[in-house]
Symmetry: C2
Subunit: 226 residues, 2 copies
């Protein structure tokens, strides 16, 4: 099935949500055609495939569109049954991975709102991150260090990296680090381990280009407000 | 596995999220012990099992806690592999069910906020519901009528019913109907079909008791504000 099927991904090079789909496809070793979308002028196909949200990413598999990044990642894991598996087979561990992915997503949404208004993350948000730092380490890593020497990244790694993998970009652009290695040594070492993985490096957009885009977006935002 | 395992659910009788877990267990025919939580005075066990959100429902299966209602429903479907299945086996259909469940959940959150401030749902929200009315019917029901004569309710039915199954309660308490059969004939007939299912009737709290609770909550809210 994996060999002969037609797989297309509609994405945008800097989108952290499209990155999730790209990374899942890479890790599973699935060949696909990539269509870069201009978000100011979306393609007819994108609007046809995702009439509800009109957003990237959209995965099109044998003509059938799948939307929403986390649903796409689960779909990829289920439609291509060969290993590596992105989610654990064990239902309890799977539930744990889904739980922490949803939790990290909630934190990142609060963080994203803070960054848009260019205010520092609140202490309340930092405390929510303390919970992730402490409990993910204990529950999923048995207090050990994350490593990808013997295993490929999976669903939860993809979610973490898409949300917090570019904190050095945020630091350079906003002038402060949304989270730091002193307070979050476990999460930081996890992200650093992911940065060494070839598939992760393949799909990560160049830092300079992202910063250039952020400057352009800020200018455009200030222009709209003026 | 289903026969010999220990299954406990921590819930609260009127919680629509606990209802999801109860309904999933009923439909799968899983015996369980039920622990009613007093949300003003939560049990030590609840706080120990769900230290992050401290909320019901929590499912405890052979000593392992699973939290968050949608994760619990997926867990139940995966840990008890016998039919009926709550999610379709086909990955594409599964992705569609997950997509629409998330969409309905988003609408219900907006609706919930409107109800808390006792304001009518906005036209924008009603339009979002139009999208669900039209597209779920076309994509998942081939424009036919929902029926549970030959099939048990599944994941998406559980989500829909938990969110919009008590609109008659809302009508009686708030004095207006959050959604009506004229504008949403498909969603209304779907919910009505679900109301005929014995497992659904088993887990639905009595309307009078829910309205009594809503009155008490309003009094307590007004008292806090005074």
């Amino acid at each position: 099935m994996a060999e002969k099927s037609s797989v297309t991904l509609h994405g945008m090079w800097a989108s952290p949500f499209a990155l999730r789909a790209k990374l899942a496809l890479k890790i599973k070793g699935i060949e696909y055609e990539y269509i870069e979308e201009d978000l100011q002028n979306k393609s007819e196909l994108l609007l046809q495939y995702n009439p509800v949200h009109k957003k990237v990413p959209v995965l099109v598999h044998n003509g059938l569109p799948i939307t929403e990044s986390l649903i796409i990642v689960e779909y990829i894991d289920e439609a291509w049954t060969e290993p590596p598996h992105l989610l654990p087979k064990d239902p309890y561990l799977k539930a744990k991975h889904r739980f922490w992915a949803a939790y990290l997503q909630q934190i990142a949404e609060i963080l994203g709102k803070a960054l848009i208004t260019e205010s520092k993350p609140s202490e309340d948000m930092m405390k929510k991150m303390d919970v992730a730092e402490e409990l993910i380490k204990a529950e999923l890593f048995h207090n050990g260090c994350p490593s990808f020497e013997d295993a490929k990244p999976g669903y939860l790694d993809i979610v973490l990296y898409s949300l917090l993998g570019s904190s050095d970009v945020a630091e350079e652009f906003f002038g402060f680090r949304p989270f730091n290695a002193e307070r979050y040594p476990f999460l930081s070492s996890w992200i650093n381990a992911l940065k060494e993985v070839p598939e992760v490096q393949d799909v990560t957009p160049p830092k300079d280009k992202v910063i250039e885009l952020l400057h352009a977006m800020r200018q455009s935002y200030l222009h709209t407000k003026a």
